[in-house]
Amino acid sequence: MIDSYLRGFETFSRNGAASAPQWARSLRLSGITRFEQLGFPDKRNEDWHFTSVAPLAEREFLPLTTGATRVTAAQLSPFTFGATDWHTLVFVNGRFDAELSSTASLPDGVEVMSLARAYDEMPVLLEQHVGRIASIDAHSFTALNTAFINDGAVVHVRQDVEVARPIHLLFVSDAGAVDGVIQPRNLIVLDRFAKATVIESYVTVALGASAYFTNTVTEATVAEGATLTHLKLQRESAQAYHVGTLDVRQARDSHLVSFSFATGAILSRTNTYTELRGEGCGATLNGLYLGDDEQTIDHQTRIEHVEPNCYSRELYKGILDGASHGVFNGKVYVHPEAQKTDGKQTNNTLLLSERAKIDTKPQLEIFADDVKCTHGATVGRLDETSLFYMKSRGINARTARELLTYAFAADVLETIELAEVREALEAATLRRYASV
């Protein structure tokens, strides 16, 4: 069903797209051309071997024409972590909403704005990066997103500036999103020695049992010595479809700390990619997926060690209940020049039901000879020894199970430095798995 997107593109090119600069228009054209060639991936595509996108491909999702905002600040409060001093951009059904956003207290040297405004205010920066990081060659969904580049967030932090409070990009969908496709395109640029925390939230309010499709792409570049902390929180409604890519380029001595929390959508795929293109870089990619019912939650990570003396750490954990299906595909490529690479990848999944399943596929491809790279994956049920230890302290069997389930998740949630998010996710996870 790529026809509806092709038709949508024609309408889109005639209407909303006119205001974009020439480079953006030609980028879109290359996106739709590539998408038409690729179509949706099927299971013969190695990157999609474990997840069928047929349910998504067979439905007709239409590009959304701007509708009136029905979302209120009160409806957003469950997703704002009680923080009042964050820099927040809100997007409703993919369109920037200035009224719900708050960027007044941004420090000097930090720009956070919608893509549409950035076309005017930062044309050079955009042209330099948008479409240059996330490749469309083999990625249908990125090609599709590129075809419809129109709105999204742009974050630029200048040299030596540390942004103390997080920048929250909150993408909310409501009833106006039904049967529509939302395609945010975001850009994060950290100049030398800059430091920032960016949160991308994908949530649903008051939708009911209808489907919509979020297809989002974020490109990020982290310059020498800079540190980007990126949290992606995917909590869309149980009928939503979600495909999201974060693609990062790291210069020497830069750090990326990424966390992906995925619990929503009937079918979701989260790609987290980074290239370590200078010496002394570090990348930490962690994540937690919580599945139930018929959900499919797929994560793919790719870490490219291009230069020597970099490290990467990866811990993805999942708890799967019902007939849910988890996928973890972690690729680590160590290029021939990348000596002294220190890489560690771990994926642990807890299966709470007989029908739940996980496909886990670590892929280490190492072309340098002096490296230290390990990976490990475990799939299992709760540890009997731990259960016994807790029971031997008087804790009843059910509580012990609940606590251990929670603890399994808390072990990776603990790595989130931002207290508001860590505590909120811990509390939500505790409520979900423990009746204590």
Binding site: E384, T385, S386, F388, Y389, M390, K391, S392, R393, G394, I395, N396, A397, T399, A400, L403, L404, Y406, A407, F408, A409, A410, D411, E414, V436
Partner: protein, 250 residues
């Protein structure tokens, strides 16, 4: 308080306990010694209710009740406590949360009210002093990344909080330096009451200088081959176990 009669147990179809008989009265301290692999931990785990061990014969009666028929948590709620030889790490559950959950379950079982967090914090302050433990240990995950000595002290902290009637200490002294050993022993001694009892499993006589036993038992090859007073421990220290083993194997 505890009567064990002809207790037999297997693990993975291998018989480890081959008929243990032992009686522990309130107020008593019993030491269980014996060579590696003789079944000391197995005895301790069977008494605590570890599901991996199958009881194939004999009885164990605790306060007149059939101990072996009780679930592990029910035993704990009834006052049985095992300090593990190898304490288990539970990443993701804070020590404080774990202790409070356990404490409240045991209070509930006794028909008492749950404790509020403030009073619990006070209680913890007091108990932590007893084992000379740093407050920071409370916010860390249970035993996770703890040193060997910290783990053992944490076991005694749990014991101090839960105030068991029957405490079984499985090699709590192993791997402790003399200072830590003294702290652990002080903890155990200060928890001593006229109506509770302690079984101390140990390899070393030196612990028994601090925790003075009323009885010493030697476990070898799944059987108690000799029982005596505290002087037996000194004799074992001097002579080793071989003189007791030969007749046991014959």
């Amino acid at each position: 308080m505890l009567e064990i009669e002809g207790l037999r147990a297997t693990v993975s179809d291998k018989e480890i306990l081959k008929g243990i008989t032992l009686t522990v009265k309130p107020g008593e301290i019993h030491a269980v010694m014996g060579p590696n692999g003789s079944g000391k931990s197995t005895l301790a785990q069977v008494l605590a209710g570890h599901p991996a061990y199958t009881v194939t014969g004999g009885t164990a009666t605790y306060d007149g009740q059939d101990l072996l028929a009780m679930d592990a948590e029910v035993r704990a709620q009834a006052g049985v406590f095992l300090a593990f030889q190898y304490p288990v790490e539970i990443p993701g559950v804070s020590n404080a949360y774990f202790l409070r959950a356990a404490y409240n379950e045991i209070r509930k079982a006794r028909g008492e009210e749950e404790i509020d967090p403030m009073s619990f914090a006070d209680l913890m302050d007091e108990k932590m002093k007893l084992v000379e433990m740093d407050g920071a240990m409370l916010t860390r995950s249970v035993n996770t990344g703890f040193s060997g000595g910290e783990k053992k002290r944490n076991e005694i902290l749990q014991m101090a909080v839960l105030e068991p009637r029957l405490a079984i200490l499985d090699e709590t002294d192993s791997g402790l330096d003399i200072d830590a050993l003294r702290i652990v022993a002080n903890g155990v001694n200060s928890l001593k009451r006229a109506n509770n009892a302690t079984i101390v499993v140990t390899h070393y006589q030196r612990l028994l200088n601090y925790i003075v036993p009323d009885y010493v038992h030697v476990l070898a090859n799944g059987r108690i081959v000799r029982s005596g007073g505290k002087e037996l421990a000194l004799e074992l220290e001097a002579k080793g176990y071989d003189w007791l083993l030969e007749p046991a194997l014959a």
